[in-house]
Symmetry: C2
Subunit: 199 residues, 2 copies
């Protein structure tokens, strides 16, 4: 019953996003992860992307979201939007990923509770891995308040050379500017290739 109820709740937010897009005349369609994904211990095992690819081909803006999905080992699992982003970006050979959040990007600590926290404008893969290790060793709650987890989930896409930026979606026009390739305050995650060039 928890699965059914959680899924229903998750679709409620998504309907608001879809309604907003439709009200701005953007042809959109939800693509429901629970209808096309099976995970294995929480990681995507099966993902049917053909309806999604067709939607993109004919000019639609498909909307996916974190969902409860069936899991071949555990019965069901929570599939995060972050894992979806990374997986789909790789499978659909995306040029870039723009992640919209409610802060300016990845901070050294939670900016909502630590005024001294500073925004990390660029972070490389080795730096990310070091940060992950430090947090893992200390066995503490993620000081970046989940943002590091989000970034780590995007690592497979970054490793595939997909340019990835985190921006503040709560600031007007930020996502639009980022989509248009304009410079926006945020965190850019540098993959192995970029890393090698810049060092």
């Amino acid at each position: 019953m928890g699965f059914s109820e959680t899924h229903q709740a998750m679709t409620a937010l998504n309907r608001m996003v879809l309604a907003a897009l439709i009200s701005h005349n953007i042809p959109t369609l939800e693509v429901q992860p629970s209808s096309c994904v099976v995970t294995k211990s929480g990681r995507i095992e099966v993902i049917e992307t053909r309806p999604l690819e067709k939607l993109l081909e004919i000019g639609f803006v498909p909307v996916l979201y974190g969902d409860v999905v069936v899991d071949s080992e555990k019965g069901f699992a929570i599939l995060s939007g972050d894992q979806l982003i990374s997986s789909l970006a790789i499978r659909l050979a995306a040029d870039r990923i723009i992640v919209g959040v409610d802060v300016d990007g990845l901070y050294s600590a939670d900016p909502k509770t630590h005024p001294s926290a500073h925004l990390i404008h660029r972070i490389t893969m080795p730096e990310l891995k070091r940060l992950q290790h430090v947090i893992g060793e200390a066995n503490v709650t993620d000081v970046t308040r989940g943002m590091l987890g989000k970034v780590l989930e995007l690592m497979p896409a970054v490793e595939h050379g997909i340019h990835t930026t985190i921006v503040n979606a709560a600031k007007p026009n930020n996502v639009y500017k980022a989509l248009k390739g304009q410079r926006v305050i945020g965190t850019t995650i540098e993959g192995g290739l970029v890393d090698a060039k810049s060092s």
Copy 2:
């Protein structure tokens, strides 16, 4: 935009069905056709059934419905619940199909406007094909008010030997009784094998 809006409207009815099932403690999940089906000129070309199979395996009651879907030839198409029933029953090797409608079954004419119309309790495949031919030749509106179209859409499943019955879902406990294998007034469609035996 019509695609987006139609899909949104179609999901609204489905949410009512899901909410009703959940309120009766039935673990249910919608499986959204537009997220896992691609049609070709209106006929199912791609259908991802693995999430659906997993749901059935762990005891869920998945709910699908007629939907707008992407179509590899026409851009998009209307996929009827009837085509889904037939296709899924074959793919998932169903024992039987019970179709719930708002009349007692297939009538000789529309029972809502023709009081003399009689219910067809059993119909064989050859009889169905003859009826289809007569209506096609006459080039008239389907006198059975869409019910013949529904039955014809189920023919592939019937041809696969899947026992198919149409019952009145508006009458209390009818669907329940039919699911339990009890006798319910309705129309049974007899496949080729049954036909050969009874003749």
